[in-house]
Amino acid sequence: MGDWKNICKDKDTRPKEQTYSSWKDLPPIPICFPAHASDTGSWRTNRPVTDYTKCTKCGFCFLYCPEGTIHEGEDGYYHIEYDYCKGCGVCANECPVKCISMILESDVQEEKMND
């Protein structure tokens, strides 16, 4: 069998990278380490932006996010991981104090360029 059996080892002892040069070394099915996810944040049209002056740290956005891209920071506030947030807007809709606004990604880019 090929090197693919190394992937069956636990997190600490499996190799950092999988490389295949021929189909003969391949596992029976395509498998890879879960860290290699695509940059799904680039699909986003609207970006959720939190106004932390209004945020009550209730955690609703964290609970409702269907992609698991919202995490509690050390400061107790919830931060959005823009690499993976697809901009669905569920957090903005569910926020009880309406502190999350959805801003067009093109507007965010312009703001950045103006800075």
Binding site: W23, I29, I31, C32, P34
Partner: protein
């Protein structure tokens, strides 16, 4: 021996579907998902009964459709469980998308198919067009002729599919109602012997795919055209070819342990050693054809039959070896492959396979299609099929006044015109 055990041991009069359910129990399957569809329903009902009365220890999940049945079974199998289900006709067609997923994920599962005709027009009786629709899915496909074989195919199935060199699912099909709802004595070995025959289920899941928080993995993701997609498809075909040898080995082990003979596992022969006229047939009508062969042998005809057990992987080399001495070959299909070279799936494959050897390249092959949608095929009709072979070989021409379509005979068709 406890009273409960005796129900599952020794010779019992069983419906074909019950034989399938009892075999699943004997194989100690851990997850069964099911949706009832005629004529498979009795499998589901029996397993439901057995689980309810505590006689079978498995997770039995009633799903909302066949598509969900296979989707859930794929999930259970990825988690490392031994899985089982059954379906029929339209149910298998509805299941088609995750059926391919199961083979592509290389999951070892066994599915019993009580085969029935495809609608429209609505039909629930024996016809193998349903399994034939999945012939290119990557599943191993077997066709059963007897009640005992239904039981044995499930047991052997787990040993074949769970082999690390194979890792492909298997469907074992038998004619709806003709085998599924009739009863015959089925000999069930003691549980301890079945346990020692079957492989152990790996504790930490299959080698290539598992659900384990300590060993997280991503699978089934997108593969771009420039990456290994073609290569993964090659591996499925390669595993199919390896399965051929594994089926032979398991069938031999089964014979040594339980005494029942299924030939080389790919097909079994009936009086072919000196036969000049050989018929390739499958399913319950193949078993019945043995009677016709006995009758014709008594009349002095050198006839024989190959009962095709394994359709995928297709036993090309093995068939060539057995039919090369024949003078003419017939292939009987109880299934359709519309628009194919012969109209029948197996006859098309036999023609393609025999083309690969100089010893069989010039052999005349007469395809037959019969018994569609559960239409009875009586010995008289099977005799008529052999007589067509005699006529072609002796007279060098195809007999007229029969339903001949592009060199294929459709026998048993209705013609009530007054002549």
């Amino acid at each position: 021996m406890t009273k409960v055990e005796s129900e599952f041991e020794g010779v019992h009069l069983l419906k074909g579907n019950f034989a399938a359910a009892y075999a699943a129990r004997a194989a100690r399957v851990q997850v069964v998902t099911a949706f009832p569809i005629t004529p498979q329903t009795l499998i589901v009902e029996k397993i439901s009964d057995l689980v309810d009365s505590g006689k079978m220890n498995c997770e039995f999940i009633r799903m909302e459709s066949e598509h969900s049945v296979m989707a859930a079974l794929v999930g259970a199998s990825i988690a490392g469980a031994r899985t089982y289900t059954g379906t029929s006709g339209q149910g298998l067609l509805y299941m088609a998308e995750p059926v391919h997923w199961a083979a592509g994920t290389r999951l070892p599962m066994v599915m019993s198919i009580a085969s029935r005709g495809i609608a429209p027009p609505w039909n629930i009786w024996a016809d193998f067009s349903d399994v034939m629709s999945q012939r290119d899915s990557g599943w191993l496909i077997q066709l059963n002729s007897t009640h005992q074989e239904i039981y044995d195919s499930v047991l052997m199935g787990y040993k074949i599919t769970e082999d690390p060199e194979v890792m492909l699912p298997l469907m074992a099909a038998y004619g709806g109602f003709i085998l599924s709802h009739t009863s015959k004595p089925v000999d069930m070995p003691p549980q301890s012997e079945i346990d020692s025959f079957l492989p152990e289920i790996p504790e930490k899941g299959w080698d290539h795919i598992f659900l384990d928080a300590d060993r997280p993995m991503m699978h089934g993701a997108l593969v771009m055209p420039g990456d290994f997609y073609q290569e993964f498809r090659m591996k499925i075909h390669l595993a199919q070819l390896r399965a051929k040898e594994k089926i032979k080995v398991v069938t031999k082990e089964f014979k040594e342990k339980f005494g029942r003979d299924y030939g080389n596992g790919l097909f079994y022969e009936y009086k072919t050693s000196d036969a000049e006229y050989i018929m390739i047939n499958y399913g319950e009508i193949a078993k019945q054809m043995e009677l016709t062969i006995d009758t014709l042998r008594n009349e002095g005809y050198n006839v024989g039959m190959i009962n095709l057990r394994t359709y995928r992987p297709f036993p090309s080399e093995e068939l060539i070896e057995k039919v090369k001495h024949a003078k003419i070959l017939g292939v009987v299909d109880r299934a359709t492959a519309f628009g194919s070279p012969t109209g029948g799936p197996v006859s098309s494959d036999v023609r393609a396979a025999l083309q690969t050897s100089s010893e069989t390249r010039n052999l005349s092959i007469i395809p037959f299609i019969n018994g569609l949608g559960g239409r009875d095929v009586f010995p008289e009709e099977q005799r008529e099929q052999f007589e067509i072979l005699f006529h072609v070989l002796d007279k060098g021409e195809y007999p007229k006044n029969k339903d001949l379509m592009h060199a294929t005979y459709w026998t048993g068709t209705i013609d009530r015109r007054s002549t």
